[in-house]
């Protein structure tokens, strides 16, 4: 039983490896078995997947200071 059993800490670690496509076959089997019975780790996988998919579109809306802009233009003109 222990051969196949992994802890939640290990499972969440393997989820990241799987996401990077860097998981071994045996590790993959163990993770699959774990996720079949552990709803918390399954949620972890879905939620971190969601965060990652949306992180790419992270944005902010702050204007670059006018004085900084003027300084950059000045340096460009001089160079």
């Amino acid at each position: 039983m222990n051969i196949i059993n992994i802890t939640c800490k290990k499972a969440t670690y393997l989820i990241t490896k799987k996401e990077h496509k860097a998981i071994g076959i045996w590790e993959g089997i163990k993770l699959k078995a774990h996720l079949a019975i552990c709803s918390a780790c399954k949620l972890f996988e879905k939620q971190t997947g969601f965060i990652i998919a949306n992180a790419k579109h992270a944005h902010s809306n702050i204007e670059l200071d006018k004085n900084v802009k003027a300084k950059i233009v000045e340096k460009m003109e001089k160079s």
């Binding site: 802890t7 939640c8 800490k9 290990k10 969440t12 670690y13 990241t16 490896k17 990077h20 860097a22 918390a40 780790c41 949620l43 972890f44 879905k46 939620q47 971190t48 997947g49 969601f50 965060i51 990652i52 998919a53 949306n54 992180a55 790419k56 579109h57 992270a58 944005h59 902010s60 809306n61 702050i62 204007e63 670059l64 200071d65 900084v68 802009k69 300084k71 950059i72 233009v73 340096k75 460009m76 003109e77 160079s79």
Partner: protein, 192 residues
Amino acid sequence: MAEPLNKSMRSIQANDWVNNYGDMLYNYTLIRVNDKGIAEDIVQETFLSAWKSRETYKAEASEKSWLYAICKNKIIDYYRKKSTQKEQYAELDNSNDFFDEAEHWTKETAPNEWGIQYNQPVETKEFYGVLEKCKKKLQSMQEKVFVMKYLEDLDAAEICKVLGITSSNYWVIIHRAKLQLRKCIETNWMTI
């Protein structure tokens, strides 16, 4: 006559660049370095580098994506310079905060259902504010790895090279970053 005209054309072009792309590059950088002063410096360096090579630049890509590419390289350079061994050793193992002695979730740390469609794009703008806030709370190394992997889309080997870490460091750091970030978002995102 040619010289002054040339000069004013240059001036117009410099002004146009900074007015058209300054805010865009600044926001792009700010999200990745979390420091206004550093972001301003990187934007400035981006424009100056682009300006110097503007004559050799061939319009294969748009001006905009060309500037983004230069800016992205400057950000990675900044990470490379900033990443020190000292910082790697200072990295604390927070992963045990999430699990009990048997390495299973505790009652407090186990993920709760968010009641959203996880495979759909995020619908509320608040999410990005929370993500930003939570990203800032990560330890420095975790934040860098997270940004380089998930915002810049670099591969693991490249990230290890830039930050001077081993691949086993990488897995551990990214694992901790995800544990921390997920928990923080769950706690702070109002929609949930």
